[in-house]
């Protein structure tokens, strides 16, 4: 079976590889490029643990062939953090307890990053809709929604000391 020579830019770094037609993008990222922050959770395009940005568009990388990504600019969770540690969204997840086991988190972060790029001030309903292709089994989503809101507020330059998750007592 034919091999294809492809070049992809991942988190700003160009990589060239000879790949089989059937190699899935997620396996290129994880197994060939050793970027294991992108996860695999379902195989049937439901869970979104494998979400990466392909030319800025959040995409389930288990349902894209590596060869389809030839020439693309790919963003993974490893590329989110800036020089000062964490992006506003990563910080939001930490401040609002938006993660527990951490397995769905990279996918959530990539979807959330794309959402905030397109919509600087999403409503709760918009956030819930945007992350509806990313399954989380630990958090019940409440704090993921808050994490995105935190990042939106911070990026808007609003008071970054958004209140942390406190119970409604």
């Amino acid at each position: 079976m034919a091999k294809h020579h492809i070049t992809v830019t991942v988190n700003g770094e160009a990589h060239s590889r000879e790949v089989d037609s059937r190699l899935l993008l997620v396996h290129l990222i994880r197994d060939e490029l050793a970027l294991t922050g992108t996860h695999i959770g379902c195989d049937t395009t439901h869970c979104g643990a494998c979400t990466v940005l392909v030319d800025g568009v959040p995409t389930k990388s288990c349902t894209v062939l590596a060869v389809q990504a030839d020439g693309a600019d790919i963003g993974t969770v490893e590329g989110l953090a800036g020089a000062d540690g964490m992006s506003a969204l990563q910080e939001g997840f930490m401040q609002e307890h938006g993660l527990q086991c951490g397995f769905c988190t990279p996918g959530m972060l990539m979807t959330g990053t794309a959402l905030l790029a397109a919509n600087a001030n999403p409503s709760e309903a918009e956030i819930r809709e945007a992350i509806s292709g990313n399954l989380c089994r630990c958090t019940g989503y409440v704090n993921i929604v808050k994490a995105v809101e935190y990042a939106a507020a911070k990026m808007a330059g609003a008071d970054a000391d958004a209140p942390a998750a406190e119970e409604a007592n």
Partner: protein, 791 residues
């Protein structure tokens, strides 16, 4: 009953602080280390051939075409393992389970052969190329049919097994209970099925088995919630081929969700280990989602027939439950050995009653073996669902508001410690307080008024109440063991000369945040900043022996062990402080982090000073160093509780149920980290919503698993999940060193009956008393149509 202010400063960050999690930065930056992230030099891949049929004979396995594929190195079958007597293995419940079959398959997707190859892709091609010829037999799928006289005996491998019964279990005084039923004013009864479900953690199971043929040493990296117990089980299973326990190291890396599904030993792990031993190379096995849903341990699958006897006013007098438990082809539960029906006898719940009797019969069917707990302390979910549903039926029957009926039957707070009719000693409780808070938060009376108005207009709205009592923290060694190993747990704390510490535990976090909460426990007891306490778990070579994390046992057992170990260190530090301050120990006062002289607060030393002195300036005769270990054998279980109230609206056209509001008031005793506790409740509620409305693993009559992927196993998304509202009350556990009770699973237990009760409540005026879960729109619509109210 109000929250105490944290005893420690924000810098120390002991109990009661919402400390941000120490594990988060690595997860947020893609630097977690999950099982599939582990790659070893020369590593091979295992993929598994599985049975497409539910029951039948294996006529032939032809691996020749698979072996022709470039990269495929070997195909392991049951016959290969039989040569080493490794084709069967014991389950945690002293039943047996096949690793790979030699002649018969017992359920769809059962492991049939292992293909070992140099890559993921070649292994998968190999699996597709192995040709297995089967002679199908008619499977036994319905557990009631399995008990009929003409049902074929499934476990012909077990000597003396003449039918499909596994065991019978009972608790309580049958005669006395029957007598109450015979004379009671009111008896209500509901039959219900809590169906087979799956934990479906987003990370599936897997391992990397690495056998070093030179040293005869085996390291297994695996997705396990109980690494130490697994090491012992491996030694028991494979000791006869030279794998003794000192040569086995089990490492549990970061775990992408466990929820009970990562407690058992699955055949895939054993095949990977066998392959690594045979080939002398590391072998990786990673399940895909379909394998995970179709072959790993299921949860629940209890068919219950519940009755409550009461007086005319609705005062509960007795409870009687008869249950059939479908275990699949092997009893491969992960439960304490002496508790075949887990802690089902918690089924009298929050209510004071004269007597109770519960019995469970377990049967074999042609389904995957199990079951595990799915975020539940061993069958508590089934017990609570059963009771909370039938109590609602009673309220309906006697014409009382379901909240009122519950309040009138609560065990009063003065009655604790309370001895339940089925033998538990509840440690503490104040059920009315949780109920009051939940009603206030949701605006209960207003909702009832709204419901009456809507009902008059023909709209269907329901309010569901559930007041559950959990039983956690297995458990005291006199009753609780797994394969004979007592269910203690452990902590080892070392304070370094500079006042920083490492603490290791016998448990294993799968998202619960142990690296943070355990550090807070040490901080609380020692006054060291939690930021300076490094927590480690999961490596059997370094961590002290423990039974692992499941059934909400980490805080009740290992958390207590951490506190006790820290107290030992503090005791030693006190002696050092006295030495440094040149006073007697009795003259010292302890404030978290500081010993000072009574009456002279400026004369003080810090815990860090004491740590440094433990290595540099010891009192004469004192053993150097500053470390302690504790194996904590809890004196009793803990009994968290709560009241949940749920509001649903039903679409009369489609039967769709939408959860409009859900208030959860939990009492888990003293709280270590409020942020994490709330997160646990959010997650638990969502894993209660799933089984209540969406999740189920059904089988057709041919034994096909009909929810074998996320196409049909319906895990709720952010859109279906409501914005949970949480609150809490605090009733400390009197016997736990920190007054804590554990919380990880309360919400999974309490949410399904609250939701089911809300749906039934919406339809109660039509004479509906019960709805089976999952409450699918089509099920609701069938009722609406039958009652003539479908639009």
């Amino acid at each position: 009953m109000s929250d105490a202010k944290p005893r420690t400063s924000a810098k120390i960050c002991g109990m009661g602080h919402s400390m941000k999690r120490k594990e988060d930065p690595r997860f947020l930056q893609g630097k977690g280390n999950y099982i599939d992230d582990i790659t070893l030099p020369g590593m091979l891949w295992l993929d598994i051939v599985r049975s497409p049929i539910a029951y039948g004979k294996i006529v032939n396995i032809d691996a020749s075409k698979a072996l022709e594929i470039d990269g495929v190195l070997a195909v392991l079958t049951g016959k290969d393992l039989e040569a080493y007597n490794l084709h069967w293995m014991p389950t945690l419940m002293s039943d047996t389970q096949m690793v790979l079959p030699t002649d018969t398959v017992m359920y769809q997707s059962q492991e049939v052969a292992g293909v070992i190859a140099t890559s993921r892709y070649a292994a998968a091609d190999g699996v597709a190329a192995v040709e297995v010829e089967y002679e199908p037999m008619k499977p036994v799928i319905d557990p009631f049919q399995a008990l009929e006289d003409d049902a074929p005996v499934l476990r012909t491998d077990k000597e003396g097994q003449e039918d499909n019964r596994i065991w019978h279990w009972e608790a309580g005084d049958k005669e006395a209970t029957d007598k109450i039923f015979a004379e009671a004013d009111v008896v209500v009864r509901e039959k219900m099925h809590v169906p087979r479900i799956h934990v479906a953690s987003i990370e599936t199971c897997g391992c990397v088995a690495d056998f070093n043929p030179v040293e005869g040493h085996l390291t297994v990296y695996m997705t396990t919630q109980a690494p130490h117990a697994i090491r012992t089980v491996l030694a028991l299973v494979a000791g006869h081929v030279g794998l003794s326990e000192e040569k086995i190291r089990v490492v549990s890396p970061d775990i992408g969700g466990g929820f009970g599904g990562k407690v058992p030993v699955y055949p895939g792990y054993v095949v990977a280990i066998a392959a690594s031993v045979v080939l002398g190379k590391p072998v990786k096995w990673i399940e895909d989602r379909m394998e995970n849903l179709q072959a790993d341990s299921f949860a629940r699958d209890y068919h219950m027939d519940a009755e409550v006897a009461a007086d005319a006013s609705g005062k509960i007098r007795a409870l009687r439950i008869k249950t059939l438990a479908d275990h699949g082809y092997s009893d491969a539960q992960a439960a304490p050995s002496k508790f075949p029906a887990g802690l089902f006898s918690i089924c009298t719940g929050s209510y004071n009653m004269e007597n109770a009797y519960a019995e469970v019969d377990a049967v074999y069917t042609n389904k995957p073996p199990g079951g595990v707990a799915y975020r539940c302390s061993f069958r508590v979910t089934e017990a609570v669902h059963c009771l909370e549903r039938v109590v609602d039926t009673l309220a309906h029957k006697v014409g009382k508001d379901p909240a009122t009926l519950r309040e009138e039957n609560f065990i009063p707070k003065e009655a604790f410690p309370y001895h339940s009719p089925l033998g538990w000693e509840y440690d503490s409780g104040d059920y009315q307080a949780a109920m009051d808070k939940a009603k206030e938060m949701i605006g209960y009376d207003d909702l009832r008024r709204e419901q009456a108005e809507k009902r008059a207009r023909g709209e269907l709205m329901g309010i569901g109440v559930c007041s559950f009592t959990e039983v956690l923290g297995a458990g005291p060694s006199k009753d609780f063991d797994i394969l004979g190993i007592k269910m203690f747990d452990s902590a080892e704390v070392r304070v370094h000369p500079t006042g920083k510490a490492i603490a290791r535990f016998g448990t294993k976090s799968q998202g619960q945040g142990h690296e943070t909460t355990y550090a807070q426990i040490i901080a609380e007891e020692l006054g060291l900043p939690a930021a300076h306490v490094q927590v480690e778990e999961g490596d059997t070579d370094t961590a002290p022996y423990g039974l692992g994390t499941y059934a909400s046992r980490s805080t009740p057992t290992a958390g207590a062990a951490g506190a006790m170990a820290a107290r030992k260190i503090r005791d030693k530090a006190a002696k050092i402080a006295a030495h440094l301050l040149e006073v007697s120990e009795e003259d010292l006062e302890w404030e978290p982090g500081t010993f000072s002289v009574k009456g002279a607060p400026d004369k003080s030393v810090s815990i860090q000073d004491c740590a440094f002195a433990a290595y540099t300036n010891l009192p004469e005769g004192m053993e150097p160093g500053m470390e302690a270990t504790n194996y904590y054998d809890p004196p009793n279980l803990t009994f968290p509780f709560g009241t949940y109230i749920c509001v649903v609206d039903i679409d009369r056209g489609t039967g769709e149920v939408s959860v409009r509001r859900f208030v959860a008031v939990d009492d888990c005793g003293n709280i270590i980290n409020p942020m994490i506790v709330q997160g646990q409740i959010h997650g638990g509620l969502t894993q209660g919503l799933g089984p209540a409305l969406f999740e189920e693993i059904p089988y057709d009559e041919d034994g096909n698993n009909l929810a074998g992927s996320f196409m049909d196993y319906l895990v709720p998304t952010a859109v279906e999940t409501p914005a949970w509202e949480t609150g809490h009350t605090v009733t400390p556990s009197p016997h736990h060193p920190l007054g804590a009770k554990g919380v990880g699973e309360s919400a999974t237990v309490g949410a399904p009956p609250a939701i089911a009760n809300a749906v039934v409540d919406a339809l109660a005026h039509l004479g509906v008393t019960h709805m089976e879960i999952p409450i699918r729109p089509d099920r609701v619509w069938e009722i609406l149509a039958a009652k003539g109210v479908a639009k």
